[in-house]
């Protein structure tokens, strides 16, 4: 492959694509879980019946972002997004919107053109530009959208030092969690001595509540591959690995296909773009260990060992895979590289804030209207993300906190809604940018329970190698469990704080060092909740079930007996058509009576 051949391929694809006026982009990655493949079949069937083959193109694309509306499709040229589309709607969509340009209000959920606010308008889709626009299973489409042009530029025009210079100038920081300068990391590996070097793409996206990397691998795999080849050239590696979570079957499928196709087109392998540079990629599936997201643990896993971290230095840049210089970058970090090369590091750095440049993808989930994948410039406020893009809290409930950065992050309270988000500001409030999981919680979430949840997670995933993490998190979890079950004692909070300090300062790897963050931030911003649990034995969010009590309201009870029949422990008594009562000594606070009562006669407090 040469540059002119690549450009010719792009031109051919674009002129072929231009010939078909109408296009429907059906997300068949994330939306596959909601039946998107049936929509594809239905569109194909009706297109055939109506003989529209040369007027309507059906594209199986990646994620459009507004996952709460799954399955989601986009129509062009109108730019309309239609959500929660069922097979029965397809005929109407073709007849009305595609052929008559008429909007169907029932399905309409936003527009790709003209909007400047709201879910689609407020975002800045640079990284996700191709996601939802191309069929990720076809390299021709990626090339049509401009993939590999940056690579061609790099291999024919720039030296490795110049590439590193561009990345340094861009200010890009690692998107996997720690936020270390990508340019600097490359420089260290480039300078490391050794003729055999490795490049690893960390696609072990284990943070609960994060799915940015999944969307990129599924929806725009060639962008990641292109970033990898550029990185490999910069550091001088000829072998690369993608370490991908096995829990992401579609991502594994799409990235494997993309690697194969890139090889077929000569974009991987020997002498890429006649530059004399060789690079190959091997895909490895993870085997279900959260700690393998940590770079030294990931390397151990690639070497066929138990995935345990080791102390650094030496850093992987000097001694990594098989003891050779190795550079590890996260998926989203690598996906940024073609953008940086394409527009230069300087122009890239103009987006975002001074110390945190570019855009960031967030996985928005929890108690928010528009759950999904959003991309915004660094420096945007949480309020903009949650209330404008996210559409606010459902059911008119009140915002309580945003959990950012998963088990290593923290809960950001309401008072920081207007804080511009970047690496530094989040660190100051005790959370971290992390990989980009953003879970919104309303007033029904208990912060002590959240802290317990994360510690339980960390405890389970702790590899056990170092004592502070293995034993410390265990004790923290036990104290939190006790508090949640109403057995908290005076002094527990202080004990938690002391343990948190020890675990944070003396754990071997980032998993342990950041594990106390969920406890520390909730203690900092929601200390009164801990106190209510310990001293008043109350959970005002009504989450901790051992602290709840159920009673039947005499005024509302109709004596239907449904609660009595459903109670698993026989704690409810009462005559038919008479007022029922719960025996508090037998009640196990399971909440079944509350769920089944049709007259809201069961009160929980």
């Amino acid at each position: 492959m040469t540059i002119s051949e690549l450009k010719l391929l792009q031109k051919e694809f674009l002129s072929r694509s231009k010939k078909i006026k109408h296009k429907v982009y059906i997300c068949t990655t994330g939306c596959r879980a909601s039946g998107a493949l049936n929509l594809v079949t239905e569109f194909e069937k009706i297109r055939k019946e109506m003989s529209l083959e040369d007027q309507l193109e059906i594209i199986q694309s990646g994620c459009h972002g507004k996952c709460s509306q799954a399955p989601l499709i986009r129509l062009e040229p109108s730019g309309y997004y239609y959500g929660k589309v069922r097979s029965e709607d397809v005929k109407e969509i073709i007849e009305k919107t595609i052929l008559e340009d008429e909007k169907i209000d029932r399905l309409f959920t936003g527009s790709a053109h003209l909007e400047t606010t709201g879910f689609f308008g407020h975002q800045k889709k640079d990284l996700l530009a191709a996601c939802g626009q191309v069929d990720p299973r076809k390299i021709e489409e990626a090339i049509g959208a401009g993939s590999y042009l940056a690579l061609a530029d790099v291999l024919t025009r720039l030296s490795p030092e110049e590439v590193i210079g561009q990345v340094m100038e861009s200010g890009l920081k690692g998107r996997g969690g720690a936020g270390f300068s990508t340019g600097l990391k490359w420089k260290f590996c480039h300078q490391a001595k050794g003729d055999e070097k490795y490049l690893i793409c960390n696609a072990d996206e284990g943070d609960p509540g994060a799915f940015m990397d999944r969307a990129l691998l599924e929806g725009s795999p060639h962008q990641v591959i292109e970033g990898m080849i550029v990185a490999a050239y910069a550091i001088g590696a000829s072998q690369g690995f993608i370490y991908v979570r096995a829990e992401y079957p579609i991502a594994v499928e799409h990235i494997s296909l993309a690697v194969r196709q890139a090889g077929d087109y000569g974009l991987l392998g020997q002498n890429i773009f006649d530059s004399g540079f060789d690079f190959n990629i091997t895909i490895r599936k993870g085997a279900g260990a959260f700690v393998c997201g940590e770079e030294t643990a990931l390397i151990a896993s690639l070497e066929g060992k138990r995935g345990m971290p080791r102390s650094r230095p030496p850093f992987p840049a000097n001694s990594g895979y098989l003891g050779k210089p190795t550079n590890i970058n996260n998926v989203e970090t690598l996906a940024n590289i073609p953008l940086i090369i394409g527009k230069t590091g300087k122009v890239y750095s103009e987006t975002g804030t001074e110390n945190s440049t570019g855009t960031k993808i967030f996985a928005l989930a929890g108690d928010v209207q528009n759950t999904g994948l959003v991309e915004v410039p660094m420096g945007i406020t949480l309020r903009e993300i949650i209330f404008d893009i996210g559409g606010g809290i459902p059911g008119g409930r009140k915002f309580k906190a945003a959990q950012m950065g998963g088990p290593s992050g923290g809960c950001v309270p309401e008072k920081y809604l207007d804080l511009p988000i970047d690496y530094e500001s989040l660190k100051e409030v005790g959370a971290i940018m992390g990989s980009g999981g953003l879970i919104v919680m309303d007033d029904r979430s208990c912060m002590v329970d959240m802290a317990h949840y994360f510690l339980e997670f960390i405890q389970k995933e702790s590899c056990g190698k170092c004592v502070p993490c293995r034993v410390g998190t265990r004790h923290m979890k036990d104290i939190l469990a006790r508090i949640c079950s109403g057995k908290g004692e005076s002094g527990d909070i202080e004990k938690l704080e002391e343990l948190a300090g020890t675990v944070k300062s003396s754990s071997l790897c980032a998993l342990g060092q950041t594990a106390p963050n969920p406890v520390l931030t909730t203690l900092k911003y929601f200390r009164s909740e801990y106190e209510e649990h310990i001293y008043s034995k109350k959970c005002l969010a009504l989450t901790c079930k051992d602290l709840l009590s159920y009673e039947i309201l005499g005024g509302s009870c109709t004596g239907c007996g449904l609660c009595r029949k459903n109670c698993p422990v026989g704690a409810i008594s009462g005559e038919r058509k008479g007022i029922h009562a719960i025996n508090p000594n037998t009640c196990i606070q399971c909440g079944k009576c509350f769920e089944v009562c049709r007259f809201t006669a069961v009160n929980v407090s």
């Binding site: 994330g30 879980a33 909601s34 996952c67 709460s68 799954a70 996206e205 284990g206 943070d207 609960p208 509540g209 994060a210 799915f211 999944r214 979570r245 096995a246 829990e247 992401y248 079957p249 490895r284 599936k285 085997a287 279900g288 260990a289 959260f290 896993s301 690639l302 070497e303 066929g304 060992k305 138990r306 995935g307 345990m308 098989l322 996985a363 989930a365 929890g366 108690d367 759950t371 999904g372 959990q403 998963g406 999981g437 879970i439 919680m441 979430s445 959240m450 949840y453 994360f454 997670f457 995933e461 590899c463």
Partner: protein, 167 residues
């Protein structure tokens, strides 16, 4: 020796041996995890006889192989149920009452997390996050997703699978 058929394992080892992953007649230790993944895909779990064979063939100590297997959650030393139910325990699912979903599955199947029902139909697992937070709370049965679950639906879904049906 019980009656485990070693042929699939032999085929996998021969295939790897023929490819570039092999050096000096030995399988590279670095290739151990993908090798175990292939074997598990073929057998459904990792039978001890097969692991002994792999150890002899590759020169990788059996203790090391077991060390690796027991570290990772996705390796099984026991046969698994016909269907695997994976309940997501991610943050978004937790916020949306995922604990109750997980408890209900356990209650309906009468097994704890990580166990297989006596009739061999279901294995129940919880996973850190399925990455489909917009479906929270969510579970997977084999390759099918079940999103926005309520605890009342679970016994119906499980019953359907038990009777040989699917979603």
């Amino acid at each position: 020796m019980t009656g485990v058929n070693l042929d699939p394992a032999k085929n996998i080892l021969t295939r790897i041996e023929m490819s570039e992953k092999q050096t000096n007649g030995k399988i590279k230790a670095a290739y151990l995890i993908p090798l175990l993944q292939d074997i598990q895909e073929s057998y459904g779990y990792l039978p001890r006889e097969v692991l002994e064979y792999v150890s002899n063939f590759s020169g990788i100590a059996l203790s090391r192989i077991f060390g690796v297997i027991t570290f990772y959650e996705q390796f099984y030393l026991e046969p698994q149920g016909k269907h695997t139910i994976k309940c997501c325990r991610g943050t978004a699912c937790h916020v949306k009452n995922g604990q109750k979903i997980s408890d209900t599955i356990s209650e309906v199947l009468k097994v704890n997390e990580g166990e297989t029902t006596d009739d061999g139909v279901f294995t129940f697992e919880t996973v850190a996050c399925l990455g489909t937070c917009f479906l929270a709370p969510v579970m997977m049965i084999d390759d099918e997703y079940f999103g926005n679950l309520t605890s009342n639906e679970i016994s119906k879904i499980i019953k359907r699978y038990k009777e040989g049906g699917t979603r």
